[in-house]
């Protein structure tokens, strides 16, 4: 893997000579899709990145939001798809490590991890099961050791990921605004490499991630060491407290090549460094290998000689290595030497800025007929079908996954995993609610509306905890961008996300693009992931208990939107139909109304309707709170629909509210005034989940039996598989 012929010409003409071998390696790493975003960068500019709470600083790898009282939160999202598909344990673990260091780079302490995992059909595919199990263990072993709680995420299985894996990791940091590292460099400053040693693991990792996965290139996968990462976190935060850091960047994709060139470019400086000064794991590494190794747990720090002594003392305390590898210059050149010999001497702006591409796009042919529905086999027994549905890997409780993650450490986790969104308490008395969501089934049918749906769903989830969305992270995962049809789906998703973000004034505070996600049988379905950060000023909504007699209120119409539904795809094995479409005005008024009634204390619990539709959402409430219910399907607001559609349509902008009888009248008045479409659709009580039509149960399940199936099916599948 190296530069394309035209890129080589471009480089040669820009520097006016033939590049050296080290220069080629450096530029190939930095100009890879993974590091340079050359296919996507032109288009990403459409996303709104500014907002009243957003703090922008040069050279940050994470987004920063001002949450008042002198505190900030930082957030970032990354993926580690290619490595995880080859070596799921190490790939997933180092994915966590990378995003944590991005949070650390801003000078904030990481306080939460989220992960979004996607694999093939684990019911049939043993390799998918192996990938799933090991990716979960990799995340658990890394995050648990760091003592950073993994508090949320999502797991999804779809045949489009056969022989592949999507491992997305998001992280959140918290700190004082005054402690943020304001990246800068002064004359005489030195460049220090701190942390793990540089070895031969992860060589060419970023190029590996910028191509279709054809061979099992294990040497391109990095080796995780969470213990070193933990020491680095504590050492860096101590150095931050002593104000020893002028600028900082983590070493991720592209290793030293990217960290050095991007730091220099962001600060408009030059850096001269000597590869002999880099502490290596093996003695015979050549300069090319040192420059592109993606060995983990390393940080690049700019400081001065006076502060170096104190920094070295901190490193000695934590027994981590720290080498002065170079110094700051003001010629805007990245000068790499081995002793006195020059290996590379390139203008930093040339290295750090690959030529951006304007790739062609074309609407994919498959979309022509995708919205047509076919006649499906009628369901004779909905109760029986529902039990099967609750055990479906995409519907079943993910407790087997989050039960392996320490989600309590840090003692901030007020609302624990398993609810719509987890909530953390912050030191200024406010609360942070966060969730990530994706939906490749919807996005396959309609890349634009599907992506908007993911955005709205993530918002709904934080809204259900009483939080107002204040920032968004996007992670856009698609196949080979050189295919115009795939590039079209990327653009459509991006446009959808941009429109929604602008309408709701939710700035994009961080993101990532991952392309070339191809399996042996073709590209993955378009898989944009949206992470939402929500802020709660007073208290989050969470309740221990639902009582008999509490009312279920639904907000939002249920529409005929079955395309890409779990019901069509899992029960009927049918891919097609019209996918749910978000009406922006409706969405906004529902969101505001729900936040208003939660804020007024009229709601005991709130839950969004998403995967599996209304039937699953109602059942989830019953199973979580271990209480039965009686719901009348004819009361569901919206156009008249058949039973299938009423139960399983995945229309967005719908919320289920649990309301105490004594608050019902007041709530009714407020909802009427707000003009949202809503209805009281039933009450809680008894030991059965009952969804009735004209007083006859269509679905009738014992809560305890349903709960057992829902809780245990994923574990049974994995443990006994």
């Amino acid at each position: 893997m190296s530069l394309e012929p035209q890129e080589l010409d471009d480089l040669t003409s820009k520097i006016g000579r033939k590049p050296t071998s080290t220069e080629l390696q450096i530029v190939a790493a930095e100009w890879s899709e993974h590091c340079s975003y050359k296919s996507s960068k032109k288009h990403l500019k459409m996303l709104p990145m500014k907002g009243p709470l957003v703090i922008s600083e040069k050279g940050y790898d994470s987004g920063v939001l001002d949450i008042g009282d002198g505190y900030v939160i930082t957030a970032h999202i990354e993926s580690h798809n290619h490595p995880s598909a080859v070596e799921p344990y190490g790939g997933a673990a180092t994915g966590v490590g990378g995003v944590i260091r991005d949070i650390l780079s801003a000078g904030t302490r990481p306080i939460a991890i989220f992960d979004g995992l996607r694999f093939g059909d684990i019911e049939k595919d043993l390799q998918a099961r192996w990938l799933f199990k090991n990716a979960v263990t990799g995340i658990a072993d890394y995050g648990n050791c760091l003592g950073i709680p993994t508090i949320g995420g999502e797991v999804e299985f779809d045949e489009c990921y056969t022989n592949y894996a999507l491992v997305d990791v998001a992280a959140i940091g918290f700190g004082k605004k005054s402690s943020l590292i304001k990246n800068h460099a002064k004359k005489g400053d030195i460049v220090v490499l701190l942390g793990g040693s540089t070895g031969r693991d992860g060589i060419g990792g970023s190029q590996f991630a910028s191509d279709s996965l054809e061979s099992e290139n294990r040497s391109a996968v990095q080796i995780p060491d969470p213990f070193i990462e933990k020491l680095i976190i504590e050492a860096i935060l101590e150095a931050r407290n002593q104000k020893l850091i002028h600028a900082m960047k983590d070493l991720g994709g592209g290793g030293l090549s990217c960290a050095v060139s991007e730091t220099a470019d962001a600060l408009s400086i030059g850096i001269e460094m000597d590869v002999n000064k880099v502490h290596t794991r093996e003695s015979d590494m050549n300069p090319d290998e040192i420059m592109v190794s993606e060995s983990q747990e390393r940080m690049l720090i700019v400081t001065n000689t006076e502060k170096l002594k104190k920094l070295e003392e901190i490193c000695k305390k934590f027994r981590i290595s720290c080498s002065v590898i170079g110094h700051v210059t003001f010629d805007n050149m990245m000068h790499v030497k081995q002793g006195s010999k020059t290996c590379a001497n390139l203008p930093t702006d040339v290295v750090a800025n690959a030529k951006l591409l304007d790739r062609p796009s074309k609407k994919p042919a498959y979309l022509e007929n995708i919205e047509k529905e076919k006649k499906l086999k009628p369901i004779s027994d909905y109760s029986k079908m529902m039990m099967k549905f609750l055990a479906a890997p995409n519907i079943a409780s993910k407790i087997w996954v989050y039960g392996q993650y320490d989600h309590e450490v840090g003692i901030r986790t007020v609302v624990k995993p398993g609810k719509d969104a987890s909530v953390l308490r912050l030191d200024n008395g406010k609360f942070l609610s966060a969730k990530i969501d994706g939906n490749p089934k919807h996005c396959y049918i309609n890349p634009r509306e599907g992506a908007i749906g993911c955005f709205e769903e993530a918002c709904r989830n934080v809204v259900c905890t009483g939080a107002k969305p204040i920032g968004m992270l996007d992670h856009l995962q698609f196949g080979n961008p050189e295919d115009p049809e795939i590039f079209w789906t990327f653009l459509e998703s991006l446009k959808g996300i941009t429109d929604f973000a602008k309408y709701f004034e939710i700035p994009c505070v961080g993101g990532k693009v991952s392309l070339y996600n191809e399996t042996p049988t073709g590209p993955i379905k378009p898989t944009p992931i949206i992470g939402i950060l929500g802020l709660i000023d007073k208290a989050p909504l969470f309740s221990h208990k639902i009582d008999a007699g509490d009312t279920i209120v639904i907000i939002g119409d249920t529409k005929d939107e079955m395309g890409g539904s779990e019901y069509f795809e899992y029960i009927h094995k049918f891919v097609g139909g019209k996918c749910p479409v978000v009406n922006f005005a409706e969405s906004k008024s529902h969101m505001n109304t729900v936040l208003d009634v939660i804020g007024k204390g009229l709601v005991k619990a709130a839950h969004d309707c998403s995967k599996g539709g209304l039937a699953v959402a109602v059942s989830e409430l019953c199973m979580t709170y271990q209480i039965g219910c009686n719901v009348s399907l004819e009361k569901i607001p919206g156009p008249k629909l058949d039973v299938d559609r009423t139960l399983f349509s995945e229309t967005h902008s719908r919320y289920l509210l649990v309301v105490d009888k004594k608050n019902l009248q007041k709530l009714d008045g407020l909802l009427k005034k707000s003009k949202v479409s809503y209805k009281m659709i039933g009450t809680f009580g008894g030991e059965n989940i009952r969804l009735n039509k004209e007083n006859k149960p269509i679905i009738d399940l014992r809560v305890d039996k349903a709960q057992k199936t829902w809780f245990n099916s994923l574990r049974e599948l994995v443990v006994h598989g």
Binding site: K230, V409, I411
Partner: protein
């Protein structure tokens, strides 16, 4: 009265423990890095949870040889209250200050979740405000939390009243459902669950009173801030 919180490389519940001791229970707590000694005026010592040395070799095995453990040992001999939580418990066991061993959970997985403890000994400095058989809702978070002792040692533990906590149900394969033990003198206590994660109502979804009593027992033993 001063409580020392020992920090090993890889400890990760030290800040949580410190927060609960100082902000919640108004105790005078101080961190001690594992390479330093403990001053003589310390009234109690807590070894917090985490992954000291990344759980290399065995959980707690390397930290048990840290310089500070010599001082912990001396304090244990003097009868000063010492509590090890999770990895702290593992370290005390590896250091030979508590009997038994901690093995991989029977599920072979890391387990994080809420469970109930039953108080079996309310004479220790950390349980003297709890009632016998009192139930404590509390979170666990460990991969190697299965307490193991052989039959003879188990008999001895029972005879000397060294079993401090049991799990209400079988959750990880621990011998006799043991979740926490003490030394023969009763001043050194180790437990796998995390009382510091359950002592505040804001983060305890069930009932924070019983876990609070673990800290209040310590206050009863050593007194409040001077």
């Amino acid at each position: 009265m001063k409580v020392g919180v020992i920090v090993f490389p890889g400890s990760n519940c030290d800040r949580d423990m410190y927060h609960v001791l100082t902000d919640v229970f108004n105790l005078d707590a101080q961190y001690f890095w594992h390479e330093k000694g403990l001053p003589k005026n310390i009234d109690a010592v807590i070894l917090p949870g985490g992954f000291s040395y990344g759980d290399r070799l065995r959980s707690g095995a390397i930290a048990a040889h840290s310089p500070i453990i010599n001082d912990v040992r001396k304090m244990a001999d003097k009868g000063i209250p010492i509590l090890g939580v999770c990895n702290g418990f593992q370290i005390l066991v590896e250091a030979g200050l508590l009997p038994g061993a901690l093995l991989k959970n029977t599920s072979l997985n890391f387990m994080c979740g809420w469970t109930n403890l039953i108080v079996e000994n309310n004479k220790t400095p950390f349980t003297n405000k709890l009632k016998l058989n009192q139930k404590i809702p509390i979170p666990i978070a460990n991969g190697e939390g299965r307490y193991y002792v052989d039959n003879d040692t188990l008999k001895k533990l029972k005879k000397n009243n060294q079993i401090v906590f049991r799990y209400e149900e079988v959750i990880n394969g621990s011998t006799d459902r043991i979740a926490g033990v003490c030394n023969e003198d009763g001043n050194v206590v180790g437990m796998m669950p995390h009382p510091e994660r359950a002592a505040e109502s804001a983060i305890n979804p069930i009932d924070n009173k019983p876990s609070s009593l673990i800290f209040e027992s310590l206050i009863k033993t050593i007194g409040v801030k001077n």
